[in-house]
């Protein structure tokens, strides 16, 4: 057979493969007709051998280029990744992720760093007169004092509440994701942002607790505190997990180690984002209202309990080790 004849004879088949690829791309997994799928497989593999034949037999270049594209598209559809399944996601969400976060040293490093610096600067600004002024600056402190000068809830309206909720998600969760992303620089970016936030918040807390507005301040920050502060620490833990994968490869090739840790890190980052979202809802709708203080304490206690249950119960039920081998404490 001549090459020109062969190309002519195969062309109809290639056209059908194009249609098949489009058909597989458009239809959902369950609706795929098995017979047509089998013929798609057959045509795809025939196109593969056409390509290798074409390269060795010197087909015209435009035909080769066309076959490259055809095989690439076919490959992408033939071996496409699995779709979303609710059941596996339930297991990931309520068993794998909390256990991986608890077992991850990065979580505890970030927690220790955050709370250490937070309480350190809280203590520092309570004991030393100049500490909070040096850290936060005169104007910020004055602004904070004026913000909490009136009793909480006196000027809150429905509109301002929904606006502030949006603002807290945008600002806080945005900072959290930035903190995570900066972890790619060997984890240093995340640690820097975490340390900055810990020291800044600590000194503000230290200053406000000793200010005349302390009562209003505490009434405001109690309810959303647990979610928000945990979320900041977790964002940094996610970034650290990501960046540390480049440093400590655990015997893997460096790029592969990064990719492996990245899939673990994004779980932590998304957890932190969810916590920021919950914190924003509380901060926008419960914290600035006239609801009695004991109720706000209850919200804080409940959110702490919720986190403890989510983190600890899976560890107790399914054991410490995560079922996936990407748990972090293998050596």
């Amino acid at each position: 057979m001549k090459i020109s004849e062969l190309i002519e004879s195969r062309r109809a088949d290639w056209k059908e493969l194009e249609d098949d690829i489009e058909w597989v791309r458009k239809s959902s997994r369950r609706k795929l007709d098995p017979d047509r799928l089998a013929s798609f497989a057959k045509r795809y593999r025939a196109a593969c051998s056409d390509l290798s034949l074409g390269i060795s037999a010197g087909f015209p270049q435009e035909t080769i280029r066309y076959l490259h594209q055809l095989v690439a598209d076919g490959h992408a559809m033939f071996y496409r990744s699995s779709t979303f399944r609710l059941r596996t996601w339930g297991k990931v969400l309520f068993s794998d992720v909390p256990r991986r976060i608890i077992n991850d040293p990065c979580t505890w490093i970030a927690m220790a760093l955050f709370w250490g610096l937070f309480f350190g600067s809280l203590l520092g600004s309570s004991v030393l007169d100049n500490f909070s002024v040096e850290v936060a600056g005169e104007s910020t402190l004055a602004e904070m004092e004026s913000m909490y000068s009136e009793p909480i809830g006196s000027s809150s309206t429905m509109d301002s509440r929904s606006m502030m909720t949006g603002f807290y998600v945008f600002n806080n969760a945005g900072i959290g994701l930035k903190c995570f992303a900066c972890g790619i620089f060997l984890g240093i970016g995340s640690l820097f942002i975490l340390a900055f936030n810990a020291i800044f918040l600590g000194s503000i807390f230290g200053h406000m607790l000793n200010a005349p507005q302390a009562g209003n301040f505490i009434t405001f920050v109690t309810a959303h505190g647990p979610f928000e502060l945990t979320a900041i620490a977790l964002s940094a833990a996610a970034g650290l997990r990501l960046g540390w994968g480049i440093v400590d490869t655990n015997g893997w090739e460096r790029g592969a180690s990064l990719r492996r840790r990245a899939s673990q890190a994004i779980e932590i980052a998304l957890t932190a984002t969810v916590l920021f979202g919950l914190a924003a809802v509380i901060e926008g709708n419960i914290s600035p209202t006239v609801i009695p203080y004991p109720f706000k304490v209850m919200v804080a206690a409940l959110s702490t309990l919720l986190m403890i249950v989510w983190f600890v119960v899976p560890c107790l039920v399914y054991g410490q080790q995560s079922s996936l081998e990407i748990s972090s404490n293998e050596t």
């Binding site: 593969c48 010197g58 270049q61 992408a76």
Partner: protein, 275 residues
Amino acid sequence: MSIEKFQSGVSLDCTLQVVTPENVCFDYRLAGPFPRIVALFADYLLIAAILLGLLILCSTLFGEASFGLILLSFFILQWGYAAGLETLCNGQTAGKKMLGLRVVSASGLPINAQQAFLRGFLRTADMIPYGFAGVFSMYFSRKFQRLGDLAAGTIVVIEGKQTQVSGIKDVKLTNISPEIIPSKFRPDPALIHALALFIARRPKLSKPRRREIAWYLARHFIRLWSLPANTDPDELLCLLYLHSISDESILSKIEKPAKKQEDPVMNWLTGEVVA
């Protein structure tokens, strides 16, 4: 680059070879920073337009409360626009679609949601400072990967438009007769490959340039077959190519092993195995 590699059709351009389980290599053309930056700006413009539309719509409907909604949608678009579209539209945002780019896994497979969100989140790190981190990363990684791509294991490729094959281009041969090729002549695969490459590039060259390039190969045949000195080298090569792709012996030499390899799989799939 070794000679064998050159002969086997590996191009020197920015392409990535993917080996399929069928033992076939295909090429992806990698996208460099410049089309990607244009695509990014197109996406930013679209986001800005959406936000502006929302702002006008919401502020007329809800008043002050709408700013919360705007900020929330800004957050979602900022962090989720690219990731969401890349997950749903098989690796393409609106900007990428405009420029014919697509995100795929480094293995050549479509990306999943996790990869899309990883590279979406890490775009922030790539932007530090003013996008230098990302451009540096693209420069130093072999596959034009920014930091987000490295972490997610993805690449950005240029989509070739699927053009229907037009068959072998007719070359008008006016001053040359097919009889000048000896009937015993059998071109070897390397020669056919070189001829195919020449034929592919030929339409982009001017006539004198075609002759100049063709001369290097054609002069050997002119001497070998003692053709007249004024033979057009360009036309000679076209004739040789036409001769070689209509030569029955070439295909039969190569076709056999390829067929043997593929038959069991195809038969199994179509249920034609009798034994």
